[in-house]
Symmetry: C2
Subunit: 420 residues, 2 copies
């Protein structure tokens, strides 16, 4: 008989085993709360709509519909529209990595890029190494792939890659296959940390030695507020013999142009790229040719490069406003590192206060954030939280932190355990 053996409670369907380990994102649930009137959201990583170049996109859309509608509205190539790949190769090269358009596959947001790479590499039980904490939606995708997740700690300089070699050795000794290391090297989500140049080089040396593929996810790299640019792994690979074939790069137009276009891209070494194209054929044939052609026109117009400084300024002001407000209203009740850019500030409540309990009060006070527990592949630290400064204005961020302080006042501090 077909499916009776696998029913789930009163559900008649025998879902695949991959669906057993996957849950809906807590953030997507919080985003619903965030829509309540008067609520200030520090929960989502929604880019500020003020950064959307509506006029520029309108010009590009007009141009596409007037001059190339039969191409833009038709089926396209699985790897992406040539004009967009050309522009994305230029954009990636401007980040220090001289890539060729033939090494790019356009994806439906970088989220699809993560899924694509997991499907290329992961059989159930295969190991992916992620940071601790790590990007929530990547954890979801890796759960769909039925990967076994192992973690390396992250500190102010990003993932502690000096622990990676020993970890890979131990996993290998246990008989599992490590297939992938996943890192967000610039202003990580959620930790806000940036992986130092030294650690990037060390990471590359380790993956070459251990023959493990590393993918750098770089949604935020253009949004640097402070400090010095560090090249992506695929750029630094030129300094590490053999590294070029062991690393890839993912990015997106979501944080610098508009998430609604759903356009990301992945840079991969040749053999892996061929397989990625075959896999993507089965996934969705190709990403929207219409938004691809519009993005290509937009990027070719030079407007993005002209606007990036003001986008960076907007996020820097919010970054500073949030950190200043935390210092002002919470002082030593919270510990955090100022992120050098991006959209997120990661914090730990002192006195082991449970962030989920604080969230309950915070919602009543009129602000939301994401409790840090969601971002751990293992052993969650309940006193952590992620604060996004992407969406709210600087003045709103200050009010939100005042509300957070009141929520903290109302939360139970667990009794101190005296040592000995």
């Amino acid at each position: 008989m077909p499916s009776d053996g696998l029913t789930r409670g009163s559900v008649p369907y025998a879902f695949s085993s991959r669906m057993m380990g996957v849950q809906s994102s807590v953030i997507r649930d919080l985003l619903r709360l965030a829509q309540r009137p008067g609520m200030i959201s520090l929960a989502g990583g929604l880019p500020s709509p003020l950064t959307f170049d509506v006029e520029g996109l309108q010009h590009a859309a007009d141009d596409v519909l007037v001059n190339s509608s039969s191409r833009a509205l038709q089926y396209g190539l699985t790897d992406g529209q040539p004009a967009l790949k050309h522009e994305l190769a230029r954009l990636t090269s401007s980040r220090g990595a001289a890539v060729d358009e033939h090494s790019i596959v356009v994806t439906t947001g970088s989220q699809q890029g993560i899924d694509l790479i997991a499907r290329l590499l992961i059989d159930p039980g295969d190991v992916i190494v992620v940071e601790r904490p790590a990007y929530l939606a990547a954890l979801q995708t890796f759960a769909l792939a039925q990967a076994s997740l192992h973690t390396i700690e992250s500190d102010a300089s990003g993932a502690r890659v000096e622990d990676l070699d020993a970890l890979l050795g131990a996993i290998g000794a246990s008989g599992k296959r490590v297939k992938l290391v996943y890192v967000v090297a610039n202003f990580a989500n959620p930790s806000g940390a940036t992986l130092s140049r030294e650690r990037r080089l060390r990471l590359l040396r380790t993956v070459v030695e251990r023959k493990v593929f590393v993918i750098e996810d770089d949604p935020y790299g253009e949004l640097r507020s402070f400090g010095t640019f560090v090249p992506p792994l695929i750029a630094l690979a030129a300094e590490v013999p053999g590294a070029a074939q062991w690393c890839g790069y993912l990015s997106t137009l979501s944080k610098i142009l508009a998430p609604g276009l759903r356009l990301g891209w992945v840079v991969l070494p040749p053999v892996m790229l061929d397989q990625a194209v075959i896999c993507k054929q089965g996934m969705d044939l190709h990403s929207s040719t219409f938004t691809q052609e519009i993005a290509a026109k937009y990027l070719a117009s030079g407007r993005l490069q002209a606007r990036l400084p003001s986008i960076r300024t907007a996020y820097r002001e919010r970054n500073e406003a949030l950190a200043d407000a935390l210092d002002r209203h919470l002082g030593d009740r919270i510990a955090y590192n100022r992120p050098e850019g991006g959209m997120f500030l990661w914090a730990r409540l002192n006195d082991a206060v449970d962030a989920s309990e604080v969230l309950r009060h915070a919602i009543e006070e009129g602000m939301v954030f994401v409790p840090g527990s969601a971002f751990y592949a293992d052993c969650p630290d309940a006193s952590t939280l992620r604060l996004s400064f992407a969406t709210a204005l600087p003045a709103e961020l200050d009010v939100a932190v005042q509300r957070l302080a009141r929520a903290l006042d109302r939360s139970v501090v667990p009794p101190r355990t005296t040592p000995g």
Copy 2:
């Protein structure tokens, strides 16, 4: 050691086992040939660009960018933009199935819908029953899912569903789990056949009894040229007790509006829908909000309903032109059934001529088609071919068939085996 055990030839990467069984689509390769100057393509299912309502889409895009840019350019809901879901529910209801917008998930083309359903249900080795022949890109996606494919023959009235019960029984007895039946009920790709009302009802009765989910893929339903409308399975489910929870429906705007928007949708029963949304979160977060909002405006404008009659006329003229040309230039050298609509005509070369060999000559003569072998999950019939009348004009179709006749003249007819 991580991955050395699984290398593929000289390739250093240990790809997932799902990638071992998947190949690039022969059609995508043929499409490259189709771009040669002077070539007439009967290969792809590319909608005629004459059916694209560029002006209507331009109005919709303007409207969206002027009036709702911060929604259309922002992240959106995984299940789809409410305005589009509302319109898609109306459109589906106009096809006889009174569906609610809450039973819809918007997908990146119906291809993603196929992938989504396979990921919800299929563990490696689970069985999917498909028609023989079946839609090539679905076969690719099911190969990615590592499904075991079983087939039911298709004739002029679609899949021989009267064979399904015995097939399901036999597979069940072999210890495999059947998870899904996949059918294109209207003007199937590639067979052109339409599943009769009687067979649709019988199919529903069988899946209810056997507790197997059936998904109807309906990209072409609106493109009926001749004959009488037959309601989709989800509409007929009302006549079969218990059937509502065992069937789903997939469709797309690709054939009636524009493939480049990459918008499809899936209608699913509640529990399956919830799982689909969780799975899609991990796949790409959501489909493009920008193209969704544009499509919603477009559909709300009523222009699609006003244009559908002329789109149908365009395809009916091509459908007739191709069939007439085959009768005129090939006569009894070819056998086929006139399709009642859609984009494809399926034919068999008499005298067991190998369609792949004919294709070699046809390319030299200046026309391409897809050899039928590609569409078989098992035991390909090498004398079959798929001719698309979607892209070429009626006069071009006639020229293409003349070229096909010359190619056939040049092809080797295998010696007749005399019985006895």
